[in-house]
């Protein structure tokens, strides 16, 4: 801040030249947050990446070689995908018709408030609640028994389905609220125009809404998938963490906090990040095939 006096003799000062490019005192306000982000987000990621190539023993790729040669480790990818992909698709397939229906509601707030509950309460509480609710003596099994739909209580906890249900309970509201915000973002006059031009309800969905919503659905899928893929507490509490629901985050956690092998843990975290990234990139790349402009009646 003392420079300008010295610079003023020779043309525009440094401060003026920086200001012309958009750097001035106000811009500097971004610095604390940016430095914070570099220190606590970018640096740990970079550190973890490098650390993953510095295994406790063996050459620089040893961690990755171990991961991809040990079925106990590499199977976690399939197990996680086997949970995340069906759950995400199911949530999206259910969220779309519900969003289209709720869009017509005048008082949406009560429903959206109820749906926001499981997101706010978080996975630990949902896991605790489902342990009782879905258990052999829980209200869910009791109701099915009373109606005579089953003769034996269903086994719904400490297996794949417990984790699956918990991911639906927290994931469906998330997917739904995202979908709803995309659906309501589309000018209703477009549907009306479609109707006056002879398009039936299905044709209006197929030719107007769907193409306009595809980019939003792609983003919704990605965000929901990434959430489901990183499932952790419910996989431990509601699943069989040593068996069918030994998901990748459990592998990473055990490496770090049970084997104290931070190098291996970082490698698993990097693999987890890479799988998420690969799916997201694949989905978003296909998004390029669709229209991506504003979804309103053209003139703003």
């Amino acid at each position: 801040m003392h420079a300008p006096a010295a610079m003023s003799a020779s043309g525009p000062s440094l401060r003026q030249r920086l200001a012309a490019r958009g750097f001035d005192a106000v811009t500097l306000l971004v610095l604390p947050a940016a430095i914070f982000s570099l220190l606590l987000f970018v640096y740990p990621f970079a550190f973890g990446l490098i650390l993953s190539f510095e295994p406790k023993s063996g050459d620089w790729l040893a961690n990755y070689q171990r991961f991809f040669s040990d079925s106990y480790l590499y199977d976690t990818i399939y197990k996680t995908l086997a949970l995340a992909i069906p759950v995400t698709l199911l949530n999206l397939v259910f969220a779309v018709p519900v969003a289209f229906r709720v869009r017509l509601m005048r008082r949406q707030r009560l429903l959206t408030t109820i749906l926001v509950l499981p997101i706010t309460l978080g996975t630990v509480l949902v896991a605790e609640g489902l342990l009782n609710y879905l258990g052999p003596q829980g209200w869910f099994n009791r109701t099915l028994l009373t109606f005579g739909l089953i003769s034996q209580p269903l086994r719904l906890v400490h297996n794949y389905w417990g984790v699956f249900v918990s991911l639906v309970i927290t994931g469906f509201p998330f997917t739904f609220l995202l979908t709803l915000s995309y659906v309501t973002g589309i000018d209703p006059a477009l549907e009306q125009a479609g109707a006056t031009l002879g398009a039936s309800a299905w044709q209006r969905f197929r030719h107007i809404y769907l193409p306009l919503l595809m980019p939003g659905f792609a983003i919704t899928f990605c965000l929901s998938f990434v959430q489901a893929f990183s499932v952790f507490p419910s996989a431990v509490l509601l699943g069989e963490p040593a068996g069918l629901t030994r998901v990748i985050s459990i592998a990473a956690y055990q490496a770090a906090f049970e084997e104290y092998d931070y190098s291996m843990a970082s490698a698993v975290a990097m693999i987890m990040g890479f799988v998420q990234l690969a799916i997201v990139v694949a989905v978003l790349a296909s998004r390029g095939l669709f229209y991506r402009g504003p979804a309103s009646g053209a003139k703003g």
Binding site: A33, S37, P44, V98, R103, L115, V124, N132
Partner: protein, 280 residues
């Protein structure tokens, strides 16, 4: 909005509402199970418990040292709210008001911690915090929780600040306000609703933030949700009702703030971040 009145359309609508009702009923019943169990004397193999009691709350309070845990929780949450507010609002102001080279990259940098799940970046973050000795301490937990909340505040506040006409600030300057007075008399009152909404959401998110706190907390720096996880994890050691009583205490602390937050924000915003339409 075109409302279809044919039979097929009505059946379809009924099916969709049945789906919603099924989901909501199960969700509420799940919460109801926890609450019922926390007041139950004994509850095995029946629809409702044999008798009712509140003693599990007292036992949960002492068994899990909930007094200490709650104090730590509120200290962590309070710190996270204050720091993420200070860092986030200033950065959002700069990003909303100035265009500079590298701005898009910076926004992407702030977007990433919200898109990447905490467990993915939490493991390397915990590693770094253990190396520096911060992990297990109060400030380690605060630092880890700030990673997603600072970007969250920034991304909520940018559209909010953008909708405030910069001419208002120019007008205040013309009428003789200096930077400090400008901030106190013009910016703060205008930004307050947005800041309040953003910070309330941060508060709710931080109370419920399990993964990051779990990865870096030590015995004296764990928050309520982490304590709850350990209690459920070690189920069998304590009575189920005691754990459920703790879960109810956790629900109440979260929901009180959620209800307050919902007075200022739309539920959808908890997921999608503020998309305020500028008034035409």
């Amino acid at each position: 909005m075109i409302r279809d009145t044919t039979l097929g359309a009505k059946l379809w609508a009924a099916a969709v509402w049945a789906l919603v009702a099924f989901f909501v009923i199960n969700l509420l019943a799940m919460i109801g199970t926890v609450v019922t169990s926390s007041f139950a004397t004994r509850w095995l193999g029946t629809w409702l418990p044999i008798g009712w009691t509140t003693r599990w709350y007292a036992s949960a309070w002492s068994e899990f040292q909930l007094g200490d845990v709650l104090i730590v929780t509120f200290q962590v949450v309070g710190m996270v709210v204050l720091i993420s507010g200070a860092l986030g609002v200033t950065a959002a102001y700069a990003l909303a008001r100035r265009d500079f080279p590298g701005k898009r990259l910076l926004v992407l940098l702030f977007l990433l911690p919200l898109l990447i799940p905490p467990i993915t970046f939490g493991i390397p973050l915990a590693t770094v915090l253990y190396r520096t000795g911060l992990a297990g301490t109060f400030w380690g937990v605060v630092a880890a929780n700030l990673v997603p909340t600072v970007p969250f505040v920034i991304l909520v506040m940018i559209p909010f600040i953008e909708q405030i006409d910069p001419k208002l600030e120019a007008a205040a300057r013309v009428f003789g306000a200096n930077t400090f007075k400008l901030f106190i008399h013009v910016l703060l009152p205008l930004l307050l609703p947005g800041i309040l909404a953003a910070l309330l959401l941060v508060l709710v998110r931080t109370i419920a933030m399990f993964e990051l706190t779990f990865l870096v907390a030590g015995p004296t720096s764990q928050t309520l949700v982490v304590a709850l996880y350990y209690a459920v994890f070690a189920a069998g050691v304590r009575a189920v009702q005691s754990i459920d009583a703790m879960a109810v205490i956790y629900m109440v602390t979260t929901l009180v703030w959620l209800i307050i937050a919902l007075r200022f924000v739309n539920p959808t915003q908890i997921v999608t971040r503020a998309k305020q339409q500028p008034a035409h």
